[in-house]
Amino acid sequence: MALPSYTSVPERIWHYLFIAICAAVFLFLVFPLLVIIPLSFNAVPFFTFTKEMLAFDLSGYSLRWYEDFFTNPNWQGAVRNSFVIAIFATLLSTFFGTLAALGLSRNHMPYRTLITSLLISPMIVPLIISAAGMFFFYSRLGLLGSHIGVILAHAALGTPFVVITVTATLVGFDNSLICAASSLGATPTQIFCKIIVPLITPGVISGALLAFITSFDEVVVVLFVGSFRQRTIPWQMFSGIREHISPTILAVATLMILISVILLVALELLRRRTERIRGIKES
């Protein structure tokens, strides 16, 4: 973005003003996430910086909220529930979603548009509506307040991500690869394992990661379909903020940011790998 030497003064002023505006917006985007990290090391139960913290006095900082998080049975139960629910929901979404994406990408899929819209609908319908509907229907099935209910609900919310990412890796899939393989004597199983699987694996993994984070972050459906026994980390945070606001929430938030960073890096690496496999050059 270096300016050429012939730019006029007003253009220069505008250019720097524009960069300043963008910097301000970027700051707006990340500042709230960054500010939470130091606050979570607060030695006193406040949601703001104390004088000691601002003076970088070590006595102003402590790990007590992390200690609370790792020893409090409420939070530990929430961690366990979050992982159990997210892992099972992810397995379900990934299995059904990948299979469906393979079907949808075949040339002769009937009613493709209609079926795609139905399969993607859990992503589009506002969560409060899905949650209300699931609450009504699962109450008939006796699934309210059960792990199965929450897992099924989360799996439904996660499948669209798997369908979309796996379909995307199959777009422009060269069918002659399959023809070539079978003309060389490969069995359908061999074709699937040696040609299709390597191509879709990055898509499947990123879809699974998206399904995982969908379930891991989801709170509306858990609030309606689940109960205290199904409390997940977001559930615990929600009730924590509503009832007694303790800085342990900030410690949890910091750990959640860490998880998002890890997932983001994983997704980015996968995206690069897909591009490399499929030979797409960055433009």
Binding site: P122, I128, I129, D217
Partner: protein
């Protein structure tokens, strides 16, 4: 007759092709079928159940089967009370229902339409047993003079069918009046139209704010070299992947009266200790937090559209004598409209259905229609009304989504970058 071309299996080629295509179709469908069945049970049937519940009134005819038949004859426009037969029917119905304790549920159902019926039914369940024989009319009115109120009978008659629009009428702040028509509720009971209006207005404001903030950074991302934009986009994706509750929590820490922003302004001397700004637990808080949360949904579609606009368009316009501003407005900006449309509708759809953030930071004047749906489900237990409100919200989202489909196309939904 020309000789038919035969396939390897000694079949006519046309037939063989049709057969293989049929097989292919079936295979494709069988692969999709498990997910379709799964989504049908876990997601679509709940939505259908919700549609059903928004008009379902079967509890009244099921609990009061004799009454709903007997009361059909009664003319509600008169001041005359229903006949002895209707009273006898209700007596029998409540006697039967109170054994299964279902009379309180039908009372609660009718109470949504006519406050007071719930307590009338509850006391009737206890006391009507003492009336052993007819004529029931005088005895019931003597026991509770509310049985002599035509208003109560009118409600029972209006809601005697298995299906009702009552919840929808309620959701639009209306009610059935004495003449059998629909009228608006008194001013102090109207909340839903206002809440819906507020949901739409606040969602539009949030959409506009995300556009104002998102446009410059999407533009910056589109014009800088890929090396830099790959780094900068992390600043957009990081909040995008961070839990909603984490971001809401950070805004509480920032904006509350003893929070970081207020402390900072007091430290700088811009605010006095008593003059701390109230930015949380009202509509300002909801607006700021939701703009932040939804901003990536605006930036990402905008960026993906802007990336495809060739910089040579602008250069051509400028070299033909257009002022850079004019070139931007007449050439660049119109090209970004698909992105603005896509991002705008996406943000609007997401904003109208938001529940968590308004519930946590909205206070009283920052709540949305979704908060009222939640309230009706878990606190006032009026599930029919909650279903009707959800259906209305769903209809709004569907309309927006059809618009979105026409602008962007459902197959072009992308996740992440």
């Amino acid at each position: 007759m020309p000789e038919q071309i035969l396939s390897a299996g000694r079949m006519p080629l046309k037939k063989a092709l049709a057969a293989s295509q049929r097989k292919d179709k079936l295979t494709a469908f069988l692969m999709v079928a498990p997910l379709l069945a799964f989504i049908l049970i876990t997601f679509l049937m709940p939505i259908v159940d919700m549609l059903y519940r928004s008009v379902d009134n079967s509890i009244v005819p099921e609990t009061l089967p004799r009454t709903v038949v007997a009361i059909e004859e009664w003319n509600p426009d008169t001041t005359e009370l229903p006949s002895e037969a209707v009273y006898a029917a209700l007596h029998a119905d409540i006697a039967a229902a109170s054994e299964q304790r279902t009379h309180t549920r039908v009372g609660q159902r009718l109470n949504y339409e006519n406050p007071g019926i719930s307590s009338l039914f509850r006391s009737a369940g206890r006391k009507l047993k003492t009336i052993k024989a007819g004529p029931y009319k005088e005895a019931m009115i003597a026991q509770d003079k509310r049985w002599g109120d035509t208003d109560k009978w009118r409600t029972i008659q209006t809601f005697s069918k298995s299906f009702t629009w009552g919840y929808f009428v309620n959701a639009f702040d209306g009610r059935f009046n004495n003449a059998g028509g629909i009228e608006l509720r008194p001013e102090n009971e109207r909340i839903y139209m206002f809440l819906m209006w507020r949901t739409v207005v606040m969602s539009l404001t949030i959409t506009l704010m995300t556009l104002l903030l998102g446009f410059p950074i999407a533009y910056l991302l589109a014009i800088v070299p890929t090396r830099i934009s790959n780094l900068l986009i992390i600043l957009v994706l990081l909040p995008f992947w961070t839990s909603l509750l984490v971001r809401t929590t950070s805004w509480i820490a920032l904006l509350q009266q003893q929070g970081v922003v207020n402390d900072f302004l007091v430290l700088l001397g811009l605010l006095s200790e008593d003059g701390r700004l109230v930015m949380m637990y009202n509509s300002t808080g909801t607006m700021i937090a939701m703009t932040h949360i939804l901003l990536p949904f605006m930036v990402l579609p905008l960026y993906s559209v802007m990336k495809t606009i060739s910089p040579s368009y602008m250069r051509a316009a400028i070299s033909l004598g257009a002022h850079p501003w004019r070139a931007f407005w007449r050439i660049y900006f119109p090209n970004t409209i698909p992105g603005i449309g896509a991002g705008g509708i996406l943000v609007f759809i997401l904003a109208t259905g938001y529940y968590i953030t308004p519930a946590l930071v909205g206070g009283n004047d920052g709540v949305f229609i979704s908060n009222r749906i939640a309230y009706n489900i878990s606190l006032s237990l009026n599930w029919g009304l909650a279903a009707a409100l959800s259906v209305i919200l769903l209809a709004l989202v569907m309309v927006m989504f059809i618009v979105y489909d026409n602008i962007v196309g459902i197959n072009n939904i992308k996740v992440g970058s």
